[in-house]
Amino acid sequence: MGVISRISTLIRAKMSKLLDRAEDPREMLEYSYERQLEMLQNVKRGIVEVVTSKKRLELQAARLQENVNRLDGQARQALAAGREDLARLALQRKQLAMTQFEGLDTQIQDLAKEQEKLTTAEQRLTVKIETFRTRKEVIKAQYAAAEAQVRISESVTGLGEEMADVGLAIERAEEKTERLKARAGAIDELVAAGTVEDITGRGDLLDRELSQISSGQSVEAELAQLRAQLAGPQAPKQLPEASSTESSQPAGKDVAREDTAR
């Protein structure tokens, strides 16, 4: 078999690496039990790592959101002052910040998935370790050396495979958080400098031009919208619409109160 046989070999290689010591079967039992506990610690560390990275991204997302609001305010001010060029610039930056924000959102969701996966792995491993511990005591107490050896190797390989698999899950989560960390560092710098540029811009030329055109179009559309809003007072027809949404507020407040009560 192609991929299946290669993955199987890969996991089994990891497994024998995990359990490559201890020739005496009884010693093997204790040794693999200790390795399992270590592995459980690794999973827990992995979860902490993922949660920390996720928090950091969430913080960045909040800061990007602030930037978006600030740039939006600046665009309004600039336009009110008759500086359409500055308003356009602010809106362009706002678009970029929003693109970054969406990218972060996807990554936050990715990390949440990793967290869930590792948490499931942790629970699974905890149960398996407990099974192994019980079986270990039974084997030690009840079986003669030769018979014990067979039973030990069954339990040990079954568990070794589980450990190798959990190890793989941790590795993958670590690779993902490492990649995100590098990217998060770059965004930190950009946010701090107040200029958010498109650091994801790796697509081919056509992609980039297309996204430039669409971002340019939305900047112009937003500019036109702002202009219309600023012109608002002279055109009172549009105003009643805004106040009509306020009548639905009481229901919304109840929901908010319920939220804080939890």
Binding site: M1, G2, V3, I4, R6, I7, S8, T9, L10, I11, R12, A13, K14, K117, A121, Q123, R124, V127, K128, T131, F132, R135, E154, S155, T157, G158, L159, E161, E162, D165, G167, L168, A169, E171, R172
Partner: protein, 92 residues
């Protein structure tokens, strides 16, 4: 037979499905060779779906060795490709 989906868990699957699994594995290899990310993802999820739908999850308290181990659900084409390069097998 016992089949494991890497990073997900073990399933007990009828041995009668081995041939079908073999077929799906062969087409997966072809998508790796072809370098088409979408086709690879489709072939992989088809293979995993067979195990998830036809198989019965092995209870968490069980300690059994798998007869076959399938790639993790989020395996990328690049990762699959490294499996076919010399050092891919002994990494880690």
């Amino acid at each position: 037979m016992i089949v494991r989906i890497a990073t997900e868990g073990q399933y007990e699957l009828s041995s009668a499905l081995l041939d079908r699994l073999n077929e799906l594995d062969n087409s997966l290899v072809q998508t790796v060779a072809g370098g088409d990310q979408t086709a690879f993802a489709r072939a992989l999820s088809e293979m995993l779906a067979l195990v998830r739908i036809q198989g019965k999850p092995v209870a968490t308290e069980e300690l059994v060795t798998s007869d076959l181990i399938l790639p993790a659900p989020d395996t990328t084409l690049d990762e699959a490709r490294t499996l076919f390069v010399g050092d891919g097998l002994i990494r880690g």
